[in-house]
């Protein structure tokens, strides 16, 4: 018959090592502290950098006139617009445009198509 394992006391953390290991988190406002025997790091809410937000707004403005329509986009420029993807592909072909991405600009991009099952 197997002998049950000896109970093991939870490891007590070396707080100096813990502070060193988490020191890089300080600039983002993370604060290590103890919750019972478990170490917890509280994360501050991150901010999107201003230049990222600015570039994003510019990209969205490029698409705004075409909400609900299909577009062909190449190198950041809209090169074809139509109400059906086949029309966009036809126009790209007629204009000898290669490599453009074809998609419908959402009317409401907050609608979540994810979580496909089946």
């Amino acid at each position: 018959m197997a002998t049950p394992p000896e109970p093991v006391e939870p490891e007590r953390r070396d707080h100096r090592r813990w502070a060193a290991a988490t020191s890089s988190l300080g600039s983002r406002g993370a604060r290590p502290y103890c919750f019972g025997m478990q170490q917890v790091v509280h994360l501050a809410e991150p901010a999107t950098p201003a230049e990222v937000a600015r570039a994003g707004r510019a990209a969205a403005e490029l698409l705004r006139p075409f909400r609900g329509r299909y577009v062909g986009r190449l190198n950041g420029e809209i090169v074809a617009v139509a109400d059906a993807p086949a029309e966009v592909v036809d126009r790209l072909r007629a204009d000898h445009v290669v490599g453009a991405v074809v998609f419908r600009v959402p009317l409401d991009p907050s609608v979540d198509p994810g979580g496909a099952t089946g």
Partner: protein, 133 residues
Amino acid sequence: MRFRFEHLPGPSADVARPALEVAILGAAETITCLCLVDSGSLHNRFGAWVADLAGIDLHDAAEQTIGIGGVTIKARTVTATLQLAEFRWEAPVSFCHPWPFDFQLLGQHGFLRWFTVSIDAANETFDVTANTE
């Protein structure tokens, strides 16, 4: 490869999404699509219009009924050739009709097994590394 989120204009607020430009290679045409990286999707799901335009034959594929985003959809699944930047792979893609969505979906089995993706939503970037070994 590092990509920026796709910024899409909305009626009240813009939305940034981790979307990729992925080409699907068919007998008639190569169609580059805007695809959402969707860890919640098991499989690649594309609109049937992509297969139509690319010239991908779906006639021999059995029709399934699947649910996506609360919508019941008919899907036919075939192995298709996909390309992201210089990386090309063959994976099952379910071509779906109707397809009321604006994105195509890249899922676990058809995309995330080939690539490792790290998403940094705060900085609106994501890193995609091909699993070459």
